[in-house]
Amino acid sequence: MPDKGGGRWRRGAFFLALPSFVVFIGLGFVPLALVATWSLWSFDPDTYWIKPVWSLASYAALLNSGRAAVLLQTAGLAALTATVCTLLAVPAASLIGLLSGPRRAALLVALFTIPFFTSGLVRAFAWRLVLGREGIINKALIGLGVVDAPVEWLLFSAFAVVLGMVAAHLPLAIVPIALAFARIESSVIRASQDLGAGFWTTFSSIVLPLIMPGVLAGFLFVFVVAIGASMEIQLLGGAGASSIAIMINDVMRVVNFPLAFAIATAVSVVSILVIIVADRALKLSRFFEDRSA
C-alpha cells in the first residue's frame, strides 16, 4: 500500500492497528507482566491465592535440584531437537531453493507447511502406534529376523521423544531457510559456476553463508517452541519424563502459584531474548517491503 496522504493516512493506520495492539498488549503483554510481578509475591494459605508480600523465595525454589534438573533437561532436549531439525532442514530447504523448479518448490513448501495446521496431538500420538511393541517397526524387525523380542526402547523413551519432537518441529526450521533462499541473487551463483566452482564448492562458500541467517533463525525458532513442549513428552516419554511446561502444570495443580509464575517468568524472558536474536538474524521486516514501489 502506498504511503501517501501524510497525516490522514497515519491516523487511519493507527485505528487499523488498534485492535491488534489491544490483543497483543491486553491478552499477551499484560498477563506476562502480571505473572512476572506475582512471581515475587507470596502464597496466602487463607485465600488459596497470593498476597503482596515481596519475596524471592520462588526464584530460590527454582534452583532446587529437582527443578533445576527439569529446566536443564528441557533445554537440552530443545537444543538436541533444534540441532537435528536444522541438520535435516538445510538439505531439504536447499532442494527447495536451489534444485527445484517453481512448481516443485511450491509443492514442497506446501508439504512442509501443511502439518503445522494439523493436530500436533494426533501426530505425536501416531508415533505410539509406529513405535510400540505391536508397532510396525517392531513387527518388521521381528519379521526380518533382526531381533527376537520387541525392542523396548523404541517407545516411552528419550529416543521416541526426540523423534516425535523433530517430526513436529521440522517445518519451523525449513521455512526460514527457504525464505533466506528466496533472497539470494541468482547471478551470484551463476558467477560462481562460471568461474568453474562445482556444486559443493558453490554450496559451501557461496550458498551456506548467504542462508546462514535463515539457518540460525530456524534453529532458534525450533529451540524456543521445543522449550514449551508438553504433548510429545507426555505421550512418548517414559513414566518419569518431564519438561518445563509439564512442571508448570504440576506446580499449578498443587497451587504453588508464585513458583509456577517464577518458572513462567524465567522461561518467557529467555524465550523473548532468543526470539529477538532470531529476528535480528532473519531481518523479517525485509520480506514485506513494498516491492513494486
Partner: protein, 283 residues
Amino acid sequence: MILYPVIGDRTNGGRPLFSIITVLCLVIIYAPGFYLLLASLNPDEQLGLVAPTRYSLTWYATLLEDRRLFNSLEESVVVALATAVLATPIGLAAALAYHSMTRMRGVFLLVILSAMLVPGTIEGLGLSAVLRLVGVSPSWVTVTLGHLLWTLPFTIVVSLIGLSAVRSNTIAAARDLGAGPIRAFVDVTLPLICGSLVSSFVFAFLLSLNEYARAYYLVGRQNTLPLYMFGAMNSGASPTIYAFSGAVLVASFAVVALIFFRAARRQGASQPLTHPAREPGRR
C-alpha cells in the same frame, strides 16, 4: 511468496543426497499419520495393519455414539469459529496498518513473532490468572481470547503476504481516477486479497481447533476436543480414538492442501505480472 531455483542444470552434485534427506523428512512427518489412518480401518481390537480386503469403518461408526466426544467437538468448533471470525479482520487491519508504519515495523514484527513462539502454557497460565483477577469465569469465551492471541500472528502474516501481491501502482491508479481510500480498498484491494482472507480464516480455525496448551488453562466446564482426546489417549486408548484421530488428520490435511493448491494456481496465473523483472532470462 515465490521461490526460484538458482542453480541451473550444470551443477547437480548435491541433488541425490538432498533428495534423500528431503524424502526422509517427509516420511517422518507424514508416515505415522498415514499408518494411524490405515490402522484405524482395522476392525479388530488388536491394532496394526490388515489386508485391504478387510478394511472396515467399524470404529468410525462407534464414533457417532460417543456423546462426550461430540460435546467437546461442539465446544471446539464454537471456539474455532469465534476465533477465526475475530482474528481474520483484525489481522487484515493490522497488515494494512503495517504498510503505513515506518519505525514501528521492526517492533511490530517482533511482537508478532513473540506471540507466535512464546510457550502456550505460559500464555495460557498468564491469561487465566488475569481473567481470574478481573472476575471472568472460564468458558468458551476465555478459550477464544487465548486462541485469538495465538492465531492473530498467523492471520497478520497471511494478510501481509496477500497484500504484498497488490501492486501500489494499481491502488495509485484507482486514486488518480478519483477513488477515495475506502473506495479503492473495497474495489481494488479487497477482490485481489479475497483468497488470502479465506486462507487466513481457515488457518485460524484449524490452529484454534487443534490447540491444547492454552485451552488447558482456559477451558470452562466443557473440555475442548484436544483436551478430551488427550485424556482418552492416556487412558488405554480405544480404537475409537484412532478412528477419530484419523478423521481429524484427514480433514485438516484436505482443507489446507486445497487452500495451498488454489493459492498456487492463482499465483501461477499472476506470476508474470507481479515479478516482471525476474522472469526473462531464467529458464
